[in-house]
């Protein structure tokens, strides 16, 4: 949630690229511009992660097509669309494909910044979820079972009983979990568990025999 925010802007119109980059630079956002979708796709592997801002109407590869191709590669940067047309159909399609916002040209700076903020919140959430998922993946099977039970609000004794282990052992697992998740409090543990990519679903899947699914 820290560091420079970077936006990757793809628009075939040079004036639009330069002006939007200029404007965003006053909003403390770094902008990398690309005159076409192909150039962005070719260079994105080495690009600083951030948000993607796509013009809808462009020669060859239009914005929706770029979004579609990225979706195939399970690319998870938030996408903002820029368009000269209030075309509801295009907007709906873009949003259904997971765009975070849709900004009509020309726009007020505030409107663009709102979209940018929204996209970076998204970006930060995604990053946090990725980190949480990563952290959770370091837990052992048994630790995961304990964590699910803890999130479900069971007491140490109840967990010990349901897992057939001693309460002391539950205590030990709990301490390990806090350590592995770099949590300073149990509240931190809960936050990480809930921000993980798909919440606790993956964990629940593994612990189905212990915890009845809702």
């Amino acid at each position: 949630m820290t560091g420079r925010r970077t936006i990757h802007l793809v628009d075939d119109d040079e004036a639009v690229r330069q002006s939007v980059a200029f404007l965003l630079s006053t909003y403390d956002v770094d902008v990398v511009t690309y005159p076409s979708g192909e150039i962005f796709l070719a260079g994105r592997a080495d690009a600083t992660p951030g948000c993607l801002m796509l013009d809808i109407r462009m020669p060859d590869l239009d914005g929706l097509e770029i979004q579609r191709r990225l979706a195939d590669e399970s690319f998870d940067w938030p996408v903002i669309f820029l368009t000269g047309h209030g075309d509801v159909r295009i907007a709906v399609e873009a949003m259904q494909n997971g765009a975070v916002d849709f900004v009509e040209k020309p726009f007020y700076g505030a409107r663009l910044f709102e979209a940018v903020d929204c996209a970076f919140r998204h970006f930060d959430r995604t990053n946090a979820a990725r980190r949480a998922t990563q952290l959770l993946s370091t837990l052992s099977e048994r630790e995961r079972q304990v964590l699910v039970a803890l999130v479900d609000g069971l007491s140490n004794k109840a967990i010990a009983r349901s897992l057939g282990i001693s309460a002391r052992t539950v205590e030990a697992h709990r301490a390990h979990i806090m350590g592995k998740l770099h949590a300073e409090s149990f509240a931190d543990v809960l936050r990480i568990a809930l921000t993980a990519d798909k919440g606790l679903v993956s964990i629940i899947d593994h612990s189905r025999q212990l915890s009845p699914c809702r």
Binding site: D13, A15, V16, Q18, V20, F22, L23, F107, G109
Partner: protein, 517 residues
Amino acid sequence: MASFSPPVALFARAMPPIGTAPADPETREALALFATHVADRAVLLTDPDGAILFCNDGTERLFGYDPRHLVGCDVADLMTGDVQQARRDRHRAIRATTVRFETRCLHVGCGPFDADVTITPIPGDGGRLRAFGYSIVDISDRKAAERKLAESEAHMRSVLATVPDAMVVIDDRGRIQSFSAAAERLFGYREAELVGSNVSVLMPLDHRARHDAYISRYLRTGEQRIIGSGRIVVARRKDGSEFPMELSVGEAKSGNGRIFTGFIRDLSDQQRAELRVRELQDELIHVSRLSAMGTMASTLAHELNQPLTAIAAYLEAARRLVCQTAHDGTRVGEAMDAAGREALRAGQIVRRLRTFVARGENERQVEPLAPLIEDASRLALTGAREFGVRAFIKLDPAADDVFADRVQVQQVLVNLIRNALDAMRGAAVADLTIRTRRDGDVIRISVIDTGSGLPSAQIPRLFEAFATTKPDGLGLGLSISRTIVEAHGGRIWAEAGAVSGSIFHFTLPAARSGSGS
């Protein structure tokens, strides 16, 4: 009147002397011989009652009778046979010294003929009426000629009365000789008012003085300005109103000088109709231009949106920079400069569009071709880049200026280019080429695409109204393009491309005559 016998006493009193007969017997005899043998007329003497006393050789020629057999016959038998009429004629001759009239006479073999008859009473001793002298001349040839002339004049009159075009005949001094019925209707004058007047009364005041000079120049130089060819001029009615007319003048030489016949056709209605047609055509061309821009509206809106977006972004950025306590003036200046440039760019787009949709003056003038094509293709190619179209413009330096209505020619170009873009949608290669070439006195402009091409069956009908190859086309674009090109004296046609696609050509008159190279 009651008595047809001449009252001799009265005659005696009234009888004036008629010349002096030659006293010399030889001369008298010669005179008698002359009268007897003169062949071009019949010379007869009758007694006071009309019985023939003598007739000469000419009588035989005129009437076919042996003169000897005529002696004693009533002279009336040689004419209409009306004895009483013959007596009245003699009576008139007595009262008037001599009488001359035309009548019908009868040739015994050939039938009636026209004759000129002179009757002269011849006094005897003591003023007594001695005889009547008849001199009869055959005038049937002259009468026939006169009849013919009268007929042709009547014919002429009837033609004059019925020709739909007004006709005015003037002499070589410009005086009106005749004025047809149609001319009377057209100008509001009666023929009688005008005959003898100078024809310039039919002209607008400012032309009047010049007409006499025109005629005298023609008579002097023989140089024909209007004779033999029609010309459109303005005429003036009796009520002072003026109207356009087509005037054709013919010339004829008559016995005493020349006459000029002017045929006049009133063009008011025709010109009104032509004007209306032109107005409607202009309207259609204009509407179709609007409609062409209508179909491009979303593309143009997009095109305008780009600079507007940039302007808004630069200004917002500049505002934010200015609000910072320690702002960087250079950056603000940069943003302002860029915003200004983009505003001008937007203005250019609007200017092109506005010129294009404006109701033009429909004025043809010398137009440099390069900027005309440049503007039209910019407009027409708006948004084309998004479909991956590459555009090429190849201008022949010899094809520089055309004589044309700029906007209308741009309309043709926009139409052809938009068609080409439509045809190339989805094509693997989408290259559009606009080429100019000079062909003598005309400039040929070609729009070449690599699109789907034309079905050859469509080519002949392409330029007809409502013929369209597009599912949502009205089929007016090409027909209006043809209207425009043909109004410019050019030609428009289509052909299949060398490899793929199609080529549309049209020609315009070059502003400068061809140099050949």
